[in-house]
Point group: C2
Chain length 351, copies 2
DNA sequence: CTGAAAGCGCTAACAC
DNA sequence: GTGTTAGCGCTTTCAG
């Protein structure tokens, strides 16, 4: 009941009690306290009682850091993602899976900053976390080579890492873009444009390439329809200007990621999708409340997050196993914006 | 260059090198290595060079855990929030402020689960984090009393903690509800209903009370207009049914938090706010893209997050300072849904 | 300015 | 079954 210190008769203790204090209080050996704390069954019941009483009396709580130093494992995995505190179902799945495996999650935001990614990753290594999941952004992760060689388990999510060989789980970008294109094509669109992320980014590269491939596969011209680049209001606005004007404007749009989809919607006004076919790659929050509701190619983010943890656990268990790449299927979510029929007049050069 | 192990001539080393290895390799004392690693300026340049060469040769990276055990501080603060991986500008601000202060952030989701909150908080205590920020959900946090007595710094965010006295930073809930009501009243609404969180939750209690006070202050009847409770589609649907039907239906709505706002929108259809005045408490993602765009009382989340870290740092620096409560102002964001004029016919009992 | 030695709080060999 | 004794890898008194 007293605010600080135990009630064992001695004067108030200035610092937190340790196992030594508990052992002395209980009149047993240090080793016995450790056993009781770790629920070792090979301790006599009377000792257990004495130790537990001493623990309660002193308000003792073991120091996890010391245990970690001694045992070598932290029971913690790190996640370096672009943004915590944003909607990120993969991160939610990572946290849940980790917790279910008895692992603590240490999540940090790289914030799309290569230097910060590096800081975070190296800090996690210095902390000797049991493993790391990373949504890579940097162009070169060679600085992790020594850590990998020393057995640090690392798994990449969404994109492979560059310069080093680690496990990776990612969406089937090519199939997703193909599905989006096919969907719009089915609804009569022959002039479909793509606006998406920069081709400096791996997924941007994959998605733009898949879009070009889709055009070619359908015997359609590629001219001026593919607009990868930075996701800024200006750049996206210019791309829209370009594809929606001229003699043969696009009647439908594929947006390469959530930020692009939102930039397009903000530029054209939310109702744009009632005139234009729009399919977004990746889910958009509140997509169901927009008018029209937004049709998207949704990533199986829960699966990605869960798989990332599973790959990491497998690597922790066997550091020498060969690096794997897992590709997770995507799925269309038909909601309205992708089902706008192409205007009849837009048949290409039908004169 | 070799993938593992140092190039110092000896056979490959099986485990990670330690400071002892570096000292041997460099031919200096352990103490000197420690100094170089910690950038202690009182080391001769030639020694620095030798040590750095050895560090590079062995690929040595210090073990942060051992340092933490020895120094007693972890350089890490914990944040137990309802959800990481959801939009949470306060958490983003916490992370940014922490990073700017050289602190690592360990964020965990309590997931609205009292038992999980307890697990997370006690785990953070066992890890001897430098301090904890918590968005409390539990009804009783007495289990932290011993930790607080032992000097564990804790700051509550959004809601005060129950049963213990800790620093707290939160929004001015009463003023926010007052502003929302006043705004709708200005636009002619005399039948305004409130749907919000359960009064078991502190902020739900404050907001419902403030709403009742607003009605009374305007000389309006309270009958059937106040609907705090669980945020489920059913409960919110029933509340809507109740306030929108009958002889004197509400012409405007105040929704007590983001989840309630979305539940209302999903129930009534996104265009509901063109018929009904709606002001939401707390920001809604993509509020600007809805039609009509959503008027809300926005919390100063960045301020809240930053203040939480500052309160925590102050408490870490001086554990004996008295607990403070900081109330952060809120602000209206006028976007459309709150500016719908009341139908002329709705003057109360004007017969 | 550098070197030897003692610990941070815990776990895990070993004996008893 | 329990008790003694070394460490985990680092920082930090103390002497030189």
């Amino acid at each position: 009941m007293s605010p600080a210190g135990g009630g064992s008769g001695a004067a108030g203790r200035p610092k937190r009690p340790t196992m030594v204090d508990v052992a002395r209080e209980a009149g047993v050996a240090l080793r016995t306290v450790s056993r009781v704390v770790n629920d070792d069954p090979t301790v006599g019941p009377e000792y257990v009682a004495k130790v537990k009483a001493a623990i309660a009396a002193l308000n003792f709580r073991p120091d996890e850091r010391a245990r970690q130093l001694r045992t070598g494992v932290t029971g913690t995995i790190g996640a370096a993602v672009r943004r915590i505190a944003e909607i990120n179902p993969a991160l939610a799945a990572i946290e849940q899976t980790a917790r279910a495996s008895g692992l603590t999650l240490l999540a940090s935001s790289t914030d799309f900053d290569e230097a910060r990614e590096r800081d975070i990753l190296l800090s996690m290594c210095r902390q000797r976390l049991d493993g790391i999941i990373v949504e890579p952004i940097g162009e070169n992760h060679g600085y992790l080579e020594a850590e990998l060689a020393d057995g640090m388990p690392v798994v990449a999510m969404d994109r492979p890492m560059s310069g080093i060989s680690v496990d990776c789980v990612m969406s089937d970008n090519a199939a997703g873009i193909g599905m989006a294109f096919h969907h719009l094509h089915q609804h009569g669109h022959r002039r479909v444009a793509y606006i998406g992320d920069s081709e400096r980014v791996y997924s941007g590269r994959e998605r733009a390439a898949a879009f070009r491939a889709a055009l070619l596969a359908h015997g359609l011209p590629v001219d001026g329809l593919v607009h990868p680049g930075e996701i800024t209001a200006e750049r996206v606005g210019a791309a829209l200007e370009s594809v929606l004007s001229g003699p043969d404007p696009a009647t439908a749009l594929i947006t390469g990621n959530t930020d692009t989809t939102l930039a397009v919607l903000r530029r054209l006004g939310p109702a744009a999708a009632s005139r234009l076919g729009i399919v977004g790659f990746d889910e958009v929050p509140l997509a169901d409340l927009l008018q029209p509701a937004l049709t998207v190619v949704a990533q199986d983010t829960a699966n990605i997050g869960r798989t990332a943890v599973e790959l990491l656990r497998a690597r922790i268990a066997d550091p020498s196993r060969p690096a794997q790449r897992v590709v997770v299927p995507v799925a269309m979510r038909v909601r309205g914006s992708g089902e706008v029929a192409a205007p009849a007049a837009s048949a290409v050069n039908a004169g």
